[in-house]
């Protein structure tokens, strides 16, 4: 794999102080992610997945080690600079969608642009519309989250992640709340974004099934990388979706 390094992690450690005990969540993580990769980070609970995700997402800083996001060293940045970095470089997709209630799909997608000054109202709307059509939700702009299915809500969330044209989409158990059919739909969309538009995706999950759709899997255990493998034959989510028994209509 060649190309630009989007993520560079060098001996990342993260310790928490719980009372008198020091809990070592990450004990030296080193790996790089290149542009255009679709990486799944796997591990059971307690393996340090979430801590790593927080650091990758610039929500948290490592205790020691060096983390470069798109060539920028994160550890020296202030709170405000981190916020700016999150806004421009990262598109978050959460397990529980985290859409604003009683707010239309379009407004939800526009949200990151609110914190990106220099865009006019019409530009914002245009970009949000484009992002919504990328996730195939044209015509649903004015729907409220409670008028959308779980899969549709997650697609609104993906559109929101795409709207600022980030260097990386960071998904946290993005299919965790969905049934397998809808999960495959979401994965098909992720694969499409990765393959056709070359989006770099880092997908945290504990389901091996989901990991099979990615190009690379990083396995964590006890705060260390235990396995980092390229996936030679990537499964197609579209085909997997087609192979599912037809939905029962009753």
């Amino acid at each position: 794999m060649s190309g630009k390094k989007i993520l560079q992690l060098e001996d990342i450690r993260r310790e928490f102080i719980m009372g008198s005990e020091v809990v070592k969540a990450l004990r030296g993580i080193t790996f790089d992610v290149y542009e255009g990769e679709f990486v799944t980070i796997m591990g059971s609970s307690g393996s340090g997945k979430t801590t790593l995700l927080n650091i990758l997402g610039c929500l948290d800083k490592p205790t020691s080690g060096n983390y470069l996001l798109d060539g920028v060293s994160v550890s020296k940045l202030s709170r405000n600079e981190l916020a700016r970095l999150r806004n421009r470089k990262i598109g978050f997709v959460f397990q529980s969608y985290n859409l604003l209630p009683r707010t239309s799909a379009l407004e939800n997608v526009e949200l990151p642009l609110f914190y990106n000054p220099g865009l006019s109202t019409s530009e914002r709307k245009q970009r949000a519309m484009a992002a919504l059509s990328e996730v195939k939700l044209q015509g649903r702009e004015e729907h409220m989250p409670n008028q959308l299915s779980g899969g549709q809500q997650q697609r609104v969330a993906i559109a929101r992640a795409l709207v600022n044209q980030p260097v990386m989409i960071l998904a946290d158990e993005a299919t965790g709340n969905l049934d397998s059919r809808t999960s495959y739909e979401i994965m098909a969309l992720m694969q499409e974004l990765n393959q056709q538009e070359g989006k770099t995706i880092v997908f945290v999950t504990h389901e091996p099934d989901i990991a099979s759709f990615s190009t690379r899997t990083v396995m964590l255990r006890d705060g260390r990388v235990v396995k980092d493998t390229k996936n030679e034959n990537v499964r197609s989510a579209k085909e997997a979706l087609a192979a599912l028994p037809p939905a029962d209509d009753y």
Binding site: N54, L59, D60, A83, T103, N116, P117
Partner: protein, 406 residues
């Protein structure tokens, strides 16, 4: 970063929670309306107290002759004669803070009508004396400047004199009484004034033109006193100084000379007036302050609930790039909008209810612009003050914890 974005954001958030926004506003609305209505009632009663007190003659100034030194011997005040018509005219022409002036030439005598007689006080005054002392004619008329010029033999009687000379209840107007053998025609009667604050019967009095007393009875050119009205209670001191200056000139006193007269104001009355009104102001300010603080606590309460309730939203906003400042502004602007909108509605409601109070209850009210401006500013400040802390605590949330908040 334009503030407009935050205003739009806040308006949208409030739109989604209309009822709650309204209930929060209600605290401010009632606070501001109460302040304005209360101050209007206060100002109205202050005004009416003031006019009542000035009807008691709180702006009255008296000039009395006083002691003087003649060859090392002090001569007593009452017997000393220094006030003349020249003094009265000088005050009338020169003093700016004096609205009316009248000399008083008084004497005592036995008033006789038919078989009845009564010892009383005869006061020779100018027509302006009625205004200065707030005396009102009950029947008949008062005497005029023409009567003064001709030293007319006319008089106005107080009620005590009438009671003693006309006990049968017949009208004294038009009758002729005698005083120290001078016949005086009664042309009017006075509305009773009762006792003065020092126990003197103010109705035991006969008023005539001062020329009549001076030329026909006492044969003197001096006055026992001069009464004057300052243009307002507040001008009493200025008027006093003015009169003193004028009289020193007319009396040709050298700078080293002591005054041979004294000028007195109704100081006690003025003090009562100012302490009453300042007490009223303090009371109203306290009530105003309390109601606005309660409104402010309402805002703070709701903003806290709102921050708690929207913790997850805050976490999300932070994860997609909101800085602490953005979150702070979001909640602060929301609080300010609530309080300012509430303030505007409160002003309208307050002014309306003040008018209603006047119409329905007949209480005097006076809506002052300063109370509107002040209460509005205070409520805007309240919004900032009470909205700031919840907004600040929202902006300091840890995005990771906020995102996982349930």
């Amino acid at each position: 970063m334009s503030i407009l974005r935050f205003i739009m954001l806040a308006l949208r958030a409030l739109q989604r929670n209309k009822l709650r926004a309204f209930l929060t506003m209600l605290g401010i609305i009632i606070g501001v309306a109460a302040v304005i209505a209360m101050v209007a009632i206060g100002q109205g009663s202050k005004e009416s107290i003031q006019s009542q007190l000035s009807s008691m003659g709180s702006n009255m100034i008296t000039v009395l002759p006083s002691s003087n030194v003649a060859g090392g011997v002090r001569i007593g005040g009452d017997s000393y004669q220094s006030l003349t018509i020249e003094d009265v005219k000088a005050i009338q022409q020169q003093a700016e803070y004096v609205s009316a002036v009248s000399p008083v030439a008084s004497t005592r005598g036995q008033a006789i009508y038919g078989a009845l007689n009564w010892p009383t006080s005869l006061q020779g005054v100018a027509p302006s004396y009625f205004d200065i002392r707030k005396l009102t004619i009950q029947d008949g008329v008062s005497f005029s400047d023409a009567d003064v010029a001709t030293a007319a033999k006319v008089c106005v009687l107080g009620q005590t004199v009438i009671k003693n000379l006309f006990p049968s209840g017949e009208s004294p107007v038009g009758k002729v009484i005698r005083l120290n053998s001078i016949p005086l025609q009664v042309i009017g009667t006075l509305v009773p004034k009762g006792q003065s604050s020092f126990g003197q019967d103010q109705d035991d009095i006969i008023l005539t033109p001062y020329t009549t007393v001076q030329k026909r009875i006492t044969a003197t050119i001096y006055f026992q006193s001069i009464y004057a009205s300052a243009v307002s209670e507040g001008a009493s001191e200025a008027a006093t100084n003015e009169i003193t200056g004028i009289l020193r000139t007319t009396h040709r006193l050298r700078p080293t000379d002591e005054n041979n007269f004294q000028v007195r104001t109704m100081e006690e009355l003025i003090k009562t007036l100012s302490s009453t009104t300042s007490l009223l102001t303090i009371l109203l300010t306290a009530i105003a302050g309390i109601s606005l603080v309660i409104g402010g606590i309402g805002i703070m309460n709701i903003m806290y609930v709102s921050v708690k309730e929207r913790t997850k939203e805050i976490g999300l906003r932070m994860s997609i790039g909101a800085r602490g400042y953005d979150i702070l502004m979001q909640f602060l602007v929301e609080a300010i909008i609530i309080s300012v909108t509430g303030g505007i509605i409160g002003v309208i409601l307050g002014v309306t209810s003040a008018k209603l109070i006047t119409v329905l209850l007949g209480w005097p009210t006076l809506v002052s612009e300063s109370s509107i401006v002040l209460s509005f500013l205070v409520c805007a400040f309240t919004g900032v003050f009470f909205g700031y802390y919840p907004a600040l605590s929202a902006s300091r949330l840890d995005p990771i914890e906020a995102l996982r908040y349930e």
